[in-house]
Symmetry: D3
Amino acid sequence: MFYHDDRLQYEVEVEEPNPVFAKMLQQAIGGVEGEIRVAMQYMFQAWAIPDEHAEYRAMVMDTAAEELGHIEMLATAVSKNLEGSPLSLADVSNDGEMGLATLAGMQPRQILSTGLNAMPVDSNGVPFNGSWVVASGNLAADMYANIMAESTGRLLATRLHEMTDDPGMKDMLEYLIARDTMHQNQWVELLKSLGDPEELLDVHPIPDSFPDEVENQEFNYAFLSTNAERQDDPGMPWTEGESPDGEGTFSYTTQHDIEGAPRNVDKADPQTFNEPAPQDED
Amino acid sequence: MFYHDDRLQYEVEVEEPNPVFAKMLQQAIGGVEGEIRVAMQYMFQAWAIPDEHAEYRAMVMDTAAEELGHIEMLATAVSKNLEGSPLSLADVSNDGEMGLATLAGMQPRQILSTGLNAMPVDSNGVPFNGSWVVASGNLAADMYANIMAESTGRLLATRLHEMTDDPGMKDMLEYLIARDTMHQNQWVELLKSLGDPEELLDVHPIPDSFPDEVENQEFNYAFLSTNAERQDDPGMPWTEGESPDGEGTFSYTTQHDIEGAPRNVDKADPQTFNEPAPQDED
Amino acid sequence: MFYHDDRLQYEVEVEEPNPVFAKMLQQAIGGVEGEIRVAMQYMFQAWAIPDEHAEYRAMVMDTAAEELGHIEMLATAVSKNLEGSPLSLADVSNDGEMGLATLAGMQPRQILSTGLNAMPVDSNGVPFNGSWVVASGNLAADMYANIMAESTGRLLATRLHEMTDDPGMKDMLEYLIARDTMHQNQWVELLKSLGDPEELLDVHPIPDSFPDEVENQEFNYAFLSTNAERQDDPGMPWTEGESPDGEGTFSYTTQHDIEGAPRNVDKADPQTFNEPAPQDED
Amino acid sequence: MFYHDDRLQYEVEVEEPNPVFAKMLQQAIGGVEGEIRVAMQYMFQAWAIPDEHAEYRAMVMDTAAEELGHIEMLATAVSKNLEGSPLSLADVSNDGEMGLATLAGMQPRQILSTGLNAMPVDSNGVPFNGSWVVASGNLAADMYANIMAESTGRLLATRLHEMTDDPGMKDMLEYLIARDTMHQNQWVELLKSLGDPEELLDVHPIPDSFPDEVENQEFNYAFLSTNAERQDDPGMPWTEGESPDGEGTFSYTTQHDIEGAPRNVDKADPQTFNEPAPQDED
Amino acid sequence: MFYHDDRLQYEVEVEEPNPVFAKMLQQAIGGVEGEIRVAMQYMFQAWAIPDEHAEYRAMVMDTAAEELGHIEMLATAVSKNLEGSPLSLADVSNDGEMGLATLAGMQPRQILSTGLNAMPVDSNGVPFNGSWVVASGNLAADMYANIMAESTGRLLATRLHEMTDDPGMKDMLEYLIARDTMHQNQWVELLKSLGDPEELLDVHPIPDSFPDEVENQEFNYAFLSTNAERQDDPGMPWTEGESPDGEGTFSYTTQHDIEGAPRNVDKADPQTFNEPAPQDED
Amino acid sequence: MFYHDDRLQYEVEVEEPNPVFAKMLQQAIGGVEGEIRVAMQYMFQAWAIPDEHAEYRAMVMDTAAEELGHIEMLATAVSKNLEGSPLSLADVSNDGEMGLATLAGMQPRQILSTGLNAMPVDSNGVPFNGSWVVASGNLAADMYANIMAESTGRLLATRLHEMTDDPGMKDMLEYLIARDTMHQNQWVELLKSLGDPEELLDVHPIPDSFPDEVENQEFNYAFLSTNAERQDDPGMPWTEGESPDGEGTFSYTTQHDIEGAPRNVDKADPQTFNEPAPQDED
């Protein structure tokens, strides 16, 4: 179960409120690279871990709860960036240079739906969507989802860092960037612990418990060129040499050289009223 | 630009059509783990790669075009599994044992919207959504997205493989599982090639071009426990020792032990009609 | 403005309630081929028609209000098909043959969210989405959207007609199919009235007010083959002869034979932290 | 910030796993009436409450964290109901009576995407959507959103309670129903505390800080009949007598009797290529 | 069934068209607080009311049809605010001060998809979504949904009223604000009529027909603190005294003081290829 | 299966990058009128065409692959319009006139999520949605969907053409407008070939294979006025004369003059906890 206190995990100060930056911050709250996504992703992953792996469950849930605190920090940052925000087109018209451009650059619903507060939507205004949550039941696959989430999340935070020159916002983002560094590392470490601890790639191919001999043995390490002109093997690391999972040797082929197959799609049942098929002899 | 021919990349045969399996196959077409997602993801990634890295662009686009062919194979498999499908509640009532259960287990729109063909939706019936496409401009982050996609994709294909005992469907899935093995390996190989080729993790923390010294140095390698009861350091690989990116040393702390910060959220502008704030002196 | 009375436009009777059919009917309510879509589409089209074309506005709005009455008929049909529906897994287990299959084939939210009534969702359970409404400001384009909507809508109604053998439901659907016949015809007639009344295709190319000479004159009537093997002109109606808009002559070419162009995509700004580009000289 | 421990708030036991019920439970997790919605709604409301009303913020956040624990209980209930679930069409065909119906009635992604665990989607399979979160900045409006959420939530829980006869599931739902009772009452109590504590309706019309005299005084307490036949005043509580907000007297009118207004919509700019308008003199 | 005439319910005049305000108005058309939502919500509620309560059905449908007329007014207001809108980046560049900011602040699809007219989307550009429609089958729950919708709707209208200084737009909004006042009052009145007419809260807990004694009697009137530090009872109206539904007495407890329960989540079936569970003995 | 080469189908040059135009171009990529929609629509249509109509399948797939090349051209155009884009609020504040307005008018995720590249979203920022793909199994219905898509697509391209004065962008759009002209014509030609080649409307009513005599014969050619005041027959082409499908004669009636039907909706099952119905005798 879950608990809270009224502290923020780290200081959130805004020297000069900027409503356009308030819009940009929404990406880190409700966007696909944002904190709601990771908080929910880590929760659902933790809930799928059985009791015998309680040490993984505890670790994943520790970070889930941490991410809830990041949503809170960013929501606070949005409210503070919206202080003194223009609320009237009349005001901005009188406002000389920057007024209309500021109102034009705001996220409309941050005024109209919340009264100058944060929402679970992204910077384009699109609501958070549960389909982004990856909790596959397979921890190795989940760890790649997590490293990806923390990589695109850190990328987002660095871009937000470039966008602002408010010292409070820069300081907050430097904290969040640091946490993304930690999280990238801890998920890699957990990934390593799933197989031979000396060998990150021991978990591949994911899922590793599917019997190797069942998959098609002709195509599992063959790079397939689809260039419209038949190309020679470029001799790249992915067309020759041992595969990184240590279980195969890369080879090279092209779509021109494989046999392929015809479609053999039959006519539809007349009850579907598909046409021309059902009646085309008429 | 793009070309096609009328061959399937690999044979798609169905011995005993099964409309419930036709529904399940939709996950591999229009689901978040499916082929439309990877086809579009690899295209948008390729289009963001500048000319000087044409060798990466070519490789990524080769596989994008291959994935289009996988959508085609799966769409064909759906049509073939829907052959002879029940179309009438009257028929299934007369059908003894399995009729109603089969109709109950079908995806309604595979009858009503397509006349027994495939759609760009998942097995729950939810349409493909462009928000799933990760093309961040940062190739290392993108490669983790790709390994994740091919890992959850292979996991999906193995679960579909368990679900069917149709030999044609098993054979098709063994081909697709093999391709996922290859793709996992080739994206890892590309990831390795982005940094020191001997060292997969040289690319971390992603993005690596953000100056290390700017991020908060107190929190970038500290595991943060959020347990409601203060816990001792469990001595796990993610709380002590060198971090896998080789740039830090893991440490351990808890939310009870960090300072945190107060919120300091002010009252709203009366023009927002937020209440009780604007009028609470009344 | 709008009015109502308490009559249904046409009788809705259900002899034998069928909860699986109640699910199927949702496609005609909240689906992309359904009645909410056309009701809203015709309203937004009407609202965009200026006063000088009041005769079109009146006609389009007449049918918008009619479609609201069709949603009402179908919502009533859903409620009546859900009468006596199984509400308990215990009951269906005791129910011998058909109980569990019926509950399995129902739409869960028709029990859980509405207490056995209709919802603005489709048969797969996906909510109605405003993005389906086409009201482009250009009446000719809108009429094609309307003919399409009434064609896929009639196709849906005929498939539902095949699915049921309840005489009340068949009768209701025969009414709705008839209205779709009428609506297809009236939108075609309106389309004809927009140009030379003797010539349906006088409105093409849509929009017709864009000056013909500005568009690229080499490619506006050329069929482009994209087959990976260069194909000869198949001599089809769309590769030779006069174009149906009467403004061009079809020709034939292939992607192998056009010049195309290089991409010329430059490296990204380092502030984006795109990689490898910004740092790849390092 | 947020904390967790590894206990469930209340016992979750399943005597006889039922995969169809696992699907139904998803409505209480990721549905519009479900626990993710209220958890996020209460968080975003709390974050918008300024410091001077810290007592409200604390209370709202107490319940937000409680709701996270309810998601956890329900996710556990889903996993337990999916134990021993059919995973293969071959197995269910051999399974005699109930096998296929069970597989037909499952949520496909609970097998294919999670390996028999819960997801942030509803019982129809539609993902949680951030647009459902109401946090308007106005606490009185928010409280109505919360009472509504707890009312539809309790309604959902009672329907789930009828659906199962598993004693463990009934016991868990009786706990959740009790919590919904409490939450309905506490939000009503908070609503009362916003105005005159003796008078629940003192907060109306919401927002109350908008000056009463500005709104149109002819139509603010007039019931408007839209029946196509002009109806007499039915003498209902909403057509006569004092209004419940204590600020007006109900009256009755009809759309036939109000003046209304013409539209006066002009032709479009030719640059829009709207037609027939831009070219209709031709 | 439904009817229309060509009048607007109330005058819609725009003195100075403002395309940025045209974007803002979309929230009142296609937003979660907007008129499409209430129109459809009241319709689906009315369709679920059985014949014996025809007086409620008539009243709810009266207002549903009224709301359709509000969409129409707002769509007209959007078209009028878009008159003379900038359509070319070249023009705005020459336009001195305000041109580019205006184009920057417009909703792109109001130009590109409609030719300067309204759409069923919100002010952020997100399409109307059918999941917002609450029609639960339980009229008391529905009335709370309606009061909430009219409260957030009135709040939205007051914020739009502050944003504009166009006298025509202010006049239209003062009409719509007045109608929201009426609708809040009429839904409260209907809610009162569902139980003891002297006692608004007689309907609680919703649904009231679920037997009181079945719900868990220990937790149904207990406020649960989730603060990470155990807090004393704050003596608030929601922790002591009679509950507003008149059926219980509030008490106070904390998550630290309740017993809770262990999870007991077992390993997954190997056929799911969940890992590490299925193979971790290896 | 599919192939690619590294050429663009037509030259994409940008003389003066414009980030606001980069946002507008997204409508042609990921919008409902855009290229992803038609590419996927034509693919799914082609995959539903049985072998005996291979000539249609080849033609539809030729254009599907062409449309993929158009996405590629537009994605390239987006990247080029984003070159030199403002990335920092500090920079734009120093930038005199146009800086802030430009940043305000950009699509946030084109900076934050992609590092200045294209995405599968529309100009409002809403992701591509698979529900837009029409592939009904009935080629005549599909052709109307295609003509509609190419009509709204050409309308979009002409509006984009007016918006820019960059010679490179105008040239690219004149190419795309030309292709839309061709595609409108080829789909009309295919539509004609489905019936009597001299008679476009021979395919109506769609689906034509449903037996004419089954549909309700009283209402299939009757225009239904829904005006609240009974109107006389206006003598329009859709109220009298032969219907364009050649199978009926238009007539005129009004909702006042048809009989209609009562609803007859019964009370709900008490297990639904619908209220007031289940308990209203109490």
